[in-house]
């Protein structure tokens, strides 16, 4: 508590502005709603077309295409770990533990990079091309998710730099929480993709 001497001629500083709800968090939530619907539409289309092919006794995956479960599992596990790590960043900034905040954000971005690298390798192994309908759907869905993950990494990096600049602390951690929320939804969307494309194929 700071004590100061004041008299009639000394004006007190203005009161703080009214507490605002977390604007960045709300905005991120709305943006995520749109993104989730974009994936919902595409995954719905994928499932619908696959169901129609199976109902007509037509093979769904083109000849020569194999979608191994292992690379998908590796990507899923990596992203699941990153979802926990990003919450570590939130926990650390809540406790004003900046070094661990940077470490956790850095690890999350690293795991995101590993996921992108893994998916790029996976593309070379699956044997799909964009020139058949199934490949087109898979590339559109996973490609959009790679873009979402890339945007998430930029978001996390930006918030890390802001934290480095002293903008965020235990009292104001909105940016880190918003980036973590974005990343967690990125992981959840991949979980839906993993189940649809890699598990049930």
């Amino acid at each position: 508590m700071t004590l100061v001497i004041a008299d009639d001629s000394i004006g007190l500083p203005p009161p703080p502005p009214p507490a605002r709800p977390r604007v960045l968090l709300i905005g991120t939530g709305f943006a995520l709603a749109g993104i989730v619907l974009a994936f919902a539409g595409l995954i719905g289309l994928y499932l619908g077309r696959r169901a129609a092919a199976l109902e007509a006794n037509r093979p769904w995956l083109p000849k020569g295409v194999t979608i191994d479960l292992t690379p998908g599992n590796v990507a899923m596990v990596g992203l699941a770990i990153s979802a926990v790590v990003v919450q570590w960043a939130v926990y650390s900034i809540s406790n004003d533990d900046r070094p661990r905040t940077y470490l956790a954000l850095g690890l999350t971005v690293l795991l995101g990079g590993a996921y992108i690298n893994g998916m790029a390798f996976n593309y070379t192994q699956m044997g799909i091309t964009v020139h058949d309908p199934v490949g087109l759907l898979i590339f559109a869905i996973t490609g959009m998710h790679l873009a979402m993950a890339g945007a998430g990494m930029i978001f996390l990096g930006l918030m890390a730099f802001r934290a480095l600049g002293g903008q965020y602390s235990g009292r104001d951690r909105e940016g880190i929480v918003a980036a973590a929320m974005y990343w967690d939804v990125t992981v959840l969307v991949f979980a839906a993709i993993w189940f649809t494309i890699f598990v049930t194929k």
């Binding site: 004590l3 008299d7 977390r22 905005g27 943006a31 974009a38 595409l42 129609a52 087109l136 959009m144």
Partner: protein, 529 residues
């Protein structure tokens, strides 16, 4: 006398995004426009650009209407460019005019209505406008180079899909800014239950737009990749229109009319010279209307799942959406009946717009009756004309209503009344004949032999279009006259408005827990006295 006191916690010294945006937009001229982050300036840019697109789609509508005067042959256009013109007419009306003009109005009014300094994320709001401008321009160019749906130029079709994707991203971004403004930047004491109806309608509309346009964006990405690699697994350029049709038919088309109810809800107590009766009922009606207008779940109806239109959920929702509109009308009429109504152009605009929405939802319910086989007939056009007509009436009415906040003087009231009447009659004449033609099984999208009477109905529809065009011309003349006139007298609140945007300083208002929301302006005046 000296005393010891604990210093209150000081306000944070960092500037808000709004402050920074305002500071940086201090530059004048083109640099000032390009760099502006002020919500008023951004809103005016949205409105100005969307009015240009309104003229474009209106001219196209006139050509299409003239072509339908003799529906058995093509006289002005040929079969291909008739389909392209019809497609641009629809895409332009929804994505380049209706949603953008409502976003523009909301960007100007909503921050003041909720007592915020600015729209949330002002730079994102500005980026959304410029993305829309560039994307919208490229959409038009894509049609001009024989692209777009039904286009023969593959690169033009690619350009259409990419540029429409840009427009959709811009609309989502602007919607995020508006929804966040209402949800996160309301002044102290203004709970969601007390928020003005226009701001509430913008929150619900923005939420529905974000969700449905998000899905549309995913679809456009898929169509773009499909078309870009010439696979055509989802159809050629002739099929793109079918993939987009859910955005222009019920229930999704009603999502563009959500702010219509909000505007009417704010206007009616002002012109009824009373307090709003059952504010909660109006909030619930607008919320239910918004929820039922979410149409992204019908996106496969014209392609992979045509049976969707026969399913119970589709039919039930088509009928259910009539109920919130009737509830809103009960609120509207109840407020007027308990007051001392006076005639004013905003009230006439609001009444006309709500009636058009009611006509639209009733036509939508009739359309959903499977045995009538109205889907893909001109009934679709009838509903679109009712709803988008309601949006146009609201947009022009809202400009009349809020114009004094822009130029500190109202538009000419007599011209406003004439505009409102012409729009009411014009939209009705434009839309109603299409419902009857639909009952006579006239298909939409192409011309050919028609049943007797359709020619006469098309003529009535054409006259309706001319009346709408005349109304728009009168409105533009009224606007231009106001801009050209100089007046020393400031009239900032000619209607005696009740919501916060009419207060001298909306940002300074704190609404006490016992103060009804519609007394917010008076609360601010009391605080200043």
């Amino acid at each position: 006398m000296a005393m010891t006191e604990t210093r209150p916690e000081a306000a944070p010294e960092r500037a808000t995004p709004h402050d920074r945006a305002v500071d940086e937009s201090a530059a004048g001229g083109l640099a000032g426009i390009l760099g502006t982050g002020r919500h008023g300036a951004i809103g005016r840019l949205w409105i100005g650009t969307s009015l240009v697109f309104l003229v474009l789609t209106g001219v196209l509508g006139g050509i299409l209407g003239a072509e339908r005067l003799k529906p058995d042959t093509y006289n002005i256009l040929n079969q291909d460019n008739y389909a392209q013109a019809l497609s641009l007419h629809g895409v332009g009306a929804v994505f380049l005019f209706a949603v953008p003009i409502l976003i523009g109005l909301a960007t100007i009014v909503v921050p003041s209505q909720v007592g915020a300094e600015s729209v949330a994320f002002p730079r994102a709001a500005a980026a959304a406008f410029w993305t829309y401008l560039i994307g919208g321009g490229m959409v038009v160019v894509s049609y001009l180079i024989n692209g777009g749906p039904f286009g023969g130029n593959d690169k033009g079709v690619d350009l259409f899909l990419a540029s429409l994707g840009m427009v959709v991203v811009a609309l989502v971004l602007a919607s995020v800014c508006l929804a966040t403004t209402v949800l996160g930047l309301r002044t102290t004491g203004m709970s969601l239950a007390r928020v003005p109806l226009f701001a509430w309608s913008v929150l619900t509309a923005a939420t529905i737009w974000i969700a449905s346009f998000g899905l549309l964006f995913g679809l456009l990405v898929l169509l773009y990749v499909d078309h870009r690699y010439r696979l055509f697994a989802f159809g050629s350029s002739n099929d793109i229109d079918r993939w987009l049709r859910w955005t222009m038919t019920p229930p999704q088309v009603f999502a563009y009319a959500i702010p219509v109810l909000g505007f009417a809800g704010d206007v009616v107590p002002v012109f009824g010279r009373t307090r709003a009766r059952r504010h909660g009922l109006a909030l619930a009606a607008i919320g239910a209307f918004a929820g039922l207008s979410f149409g992204a779940w019908t996106y496969l109806g014209n392609n992979d799942n045509p049976r969707l239109y026969q399913q119970f959920l589709f039919v039930a929702s088509a009928f259910a959406i009539v109920l919130p509109v009737l509830l809103f009308l009960a609120f509207f009429a109840g407020t007027l009946m308990h007051g001392r109504p006076r005639v004013g152009s905003p009230l006439l605009f609001a009444t006309a717009a709500v009636l058009m929405v009611l006509a639209g939802v009733i036509t939508g319910a009739i359309r959903s009756v499977h045995s009538l086989a109205l889907i893909d007939t001109t009934t679709d056009a009838s509903i679109s004309h009712y709803v988008l007509g309601a949006v146009a009436i609201t947009a022009i009415g809202a400009i009349h209503y809020w114009w004094p906040q822009v130029l500190t003087r109202p538009l000419k009231e007599a011209l406003g009344l004439v505009t409102a009447l012409l729009l009411l009659v014009g939209v009705l004449a434009l839309a109603l004949p299409d419902l009857i033609s639909g009952l006579l099984y006239e298909r939409r999208g192409s011309l050919g032999a028609v049943r007797g009477g359709v020619e006469a109905l098309n003529a009535v529809s054409f006259v309706g279009g001319i009346l709408v065009a005349l109304a728009v011309v009168i409105f533009i003349v009224n606007l231009a006259a106001s801009l050209a006139t100089r007046s020393d007298e400031d009239i900032t609140d000619p209607w005696d408005g009740q919501t916060l945007e009419w207060a001298a300083d909306p940002v300074a208002v704190t609404i006490g827990s016992a103060t009804p929301v519609l007394d917010a302006k008076e609360a601010s005046e009391g605080a200043m006295a």
